[in-house]
Amino acid sequence: MLPRVATAAADRDVSLQVAFTAAGLRAMGLTDVELQGFPPDFVEGMAKRAHQLGDTAEDVANWRFGREDQDIHLLLAIYAPSPKDVELPGLRTVHHLRAAWSEREPFGFRDGLSQPAIAGFPETEGPRTHAEDEPVSTGEFLLGYPNEYGELPISPQVGPHDLGRNGTYLVLRQLQQDVARFHAFLGEQARRVYGVDDERHRTLLAAKMMGRWPNGEPLEEGQVEEPPLRPGEENAFLFMSSRAGGCPVGAHVRRANPRDALGASGGPRGVDEQRASLRAVRRHRLIRRVVRYREGEEEGIVFIALNASIERQFEYVHRSWLRNEKIGTAVDEKDPLMSTGRGECFTIPDSSVRQRVTGLPAFVQAVGGGYFFLPGLSALRFLSALPG
């Protein structure tokens, strides 16, 4: 399998990535002592730490893959122009997930727009146009390099061999989206909030919840209709500027990446505060890859995040921002797209009196997931040579 694994240099039609769970590394021949070199978040795995992400034990028991009773070892990510069935001798498929890249996720929004520029990558060389655009340290996404704290994080070692170098941690989550319920809710709330249930007001309401227009444009102050797309400019904005001043404090994209607005509840901020916010946010960024799946009537996305520390990046964003009920203005607001159906609400600033969407149902449900270690090529060669 090793020669088929995609490298940075390779440009091919079909590419393959291999990532391991802690159980997988054990099966490859690592001892328990060697496994202790990996961070506890990865070793424990997503199912055990699901409460950090807002999943209940009952949710996890119904997962299609990633449950504690399933002994998953490997994630094989195969990218090909057409569906391929892969037979791998000696491996048993626990779960097969077929998904395809799509510009828009099932609710109709362009997805995966905000990606960090990474220091040292060729595409990030050259002058930057925007404060948000400053490259984030390589070590936030790749082990073996300095991170945003100017640290070389501890890397898993086996004897003299540095297993971590050029590797990273991969978070996989299959998220089922209830598209019908989402649209029904928009209709009902558009009537309540704006007094009219038409396409225009549904789109406006959905955009307020998401924090972007469906085409990816940020929400400008006072804007009530989707503006034309400015290609390449989708990310050139800060929340404390007029370009995105219409984005509610509790909207999904603002929670997931608060940019210059961390800790701000409204009103103007000083330059120092904005700078401090941008600096703090850079320590919790993720590389995201999203593909869309459809199984019969069911639709959703397969969410993949790459980060050097699952706890400090992926889990932190979930716990401290997305699910933080003290971001936003009401007492019990959470991310409107990650509501659990327990009576959460969401505040939308307006020109005279703020509006509030109440009784948010659960639109998105995790149906599987796991934490994986995505090794660099030398670590992969080392692992394949182990007598596991």
Binding site: H51, Y149, Y194, S351, R356
Partner: protein, 459 residues
């Protein structure tokens, strides 16, 4: 109204330490209330502190307000606590049982002797931060403001005819709290520590930019505190109790004195950490060595809280002043090692009382509620638009809020999106604002309900 900070450390009878630990574990498991709702009490906790060599202390800490002179605060609170315990028999039994494990406790029957016992064992804080509302508000007045805000929110959300709670007059308390904070701003230690923090921040940024990376190390001490004890859904008012022996304490008292003066200023350097209700440091001597005790109460996640200590350079500089000279603090280089250092010395808080926990009030909620109570006309317009109090908000009565709300509801009470005309925007704020700070006229085509008019008539 003054706020008091009581820290009592009672030496545990060496032979009864195990029994006390079992008792505290059982109380924590069963969530049995030990501390009654004493008037003026915001927060309190009980924890067991081990100082090695078989010496342990039972900690009783409280944050409260009382209307008396500064030096009478502790006695006033202890008196109120013991009086309250007399009418809470179950809590009194547990309280007595806890302190009976300590040396010299006379029992609760003799209230005077029990009070003298507690007061004789109190330690003065060396530095503290108290969030502004707790400096001049009682729990009751905070709850009143919160109820008023909730009523306003309910009015905005849907038809309701309940009258709003009248605002209580605390202006003189507010004025004195503000005066003290303003005086602290002028103190030389404020300027000194600000200058120092700025210098440290510059050095740190230079090192990040130009210096070689720090090699991460694995902290070799096992965590004493399992942070999974804090459920991720506990996002408000989480207690943190931390005890560290002091290796060198040269000038520590002076440093903490300077830090304390600086912390008197409202939210000094803590603007990124918006979730601290209070924090304090107490130096005490136990088992022949000096210890630094740190107590705080925070909103949000443990990682977010500790991460903010490390991320915010001004806060970091302040904390380095405080913990420099504490056991192994000099070895802390990275965020991971800082977290490990904290966890290796964090002590469980088995008993925690909060007057504000049932309502799940974060410090931001309390600020908001108190600000809403005192909105100006301009501030109110901003609040109604955004649902939050911006920094420009100053003074206005809730009655004016009601009048404004009635006008809005009378004219439809709808969102603005369906309107053809877009009002002028205020460039900095991101919300429309009428000229000269007057409220925007509400469009006439939105007439729908005159319900709010009735509310104003009642109010």
């Amino acid at each position: 109204m003054r706020n008091g900070t009581l820290t009592v450390l009672a030496r545990v009878h060496p032979a009864r330490r195990g029994a006390l630990q079992d008792l505290l574990d059982a109380l924590e498991r069963k969530s049995i209330p030990v501390i009654p709702d004493v008037p003026g009490l915001h927060f309190a906790r009980v924890a067991l502190l081990d100082c090695g060599a078989g010496e342990s202390y039972l900690l009783l800490a409280a944050d409260f307000v009382a209307d008396c002179r500064q030096r009478e605060l502790d006695a006033r609170f202890v008196g109120a606590l013991l009086e309250r315990l007399e009418s809470h028999r179950a809590a009194a039994r547990v309280f007595e049982h806890l302190f009976q494990q300590c040396e010299g406790f006379p029992g609760l029957a003799d209230r005077e002797a029990a009070g003298a016992f507690l007061l004789a064992r109190r330690r003065r804080y060396s530095a503290r931060h108290v969030a502004f509302p707790y400096r001049w508000q009682t729990p009751e007045s905070i709850h009143q403001a919160v109820r008023a805000r909730q009523a306003l929110e309910r009015l905005l959300d849907g038809p309701s005819s309940e009258p709003l709670v009248p605002r209580c007059d605390l202006r003189s308390h507010l004025a004195s709290a503000r005066r003290r904070a303003a005086l602290a701003t002028l103190s030389p230690s404020n300027a000194l520590l600000t200058w120092k923090a700025k210098r440290q921040a510059r050095a740190y940024e230079r090192r990040l930019r130009e210096g070689p990376p720090t090699q991460g190390i694995r902290w070799d001490e096992a965590p004493r505190f399992d942070r999974r004890r804090i459920a991720p859904d506990d996002q408000v008012q989480n207690p943190l109790t931390h005890l560290v022996p002091l290796d060198g304490h040269w000038l520590l008292r002076l440093r903490l004195f300077l830090v304390n003066l600086r912390l008197c200023r409202y939210l000094v350097g803590l603007h990124q950490i918006q979730g601290i209700h209070f924090a304090r440091w107490v130096i005490f001597k136990g088992a022949g060595r000096r210890y630094l005790l740190f107590l705080s109460c925070f909103d949000g996640t443990w990682d977010g809280y500790i991460g903010a200590f490390f991320d915010d350079l001004a806060v970091r500089a302040l904390l380095e002043e405080v913990w420099r000279g504490s056991q192994r603090f000099a070895e802390v280089r990275t965020l991971d090692t800082f977290k490990a250092w904290i966890l290796a010395r964090q002590v469980p808080t088995p008993i925690f009382y909060s007057a504000h926990r049932a309502q799940r009030l974060g410090i931001a909620d309390i600020h908001q509620a108190l600000q809403v109570q005192d909105l100006t006309e301009e501030g109110l317009a901003s609040y109604l638009r955004s649902g939050t109090c911006g920094p420009e908000v100053a003074q206005m009565s809730i009655r004016a809020a009601l009048v404004e709300l009635a006008r809005w509801r009378k004219q439809g009470g709808r969102g603005h999106a369906s309107l053809a005309a877009t009002p002028r925007r205020h460039p900095a704020h991101g919300h429309p604002r009428a000229p000269e700070g007057r409220l925007l006229p509400f469009p006439a085509d939105r007439a729908r309900s005159d319900l709010a008019g009735e509310v104003v008539a009642e109010g």
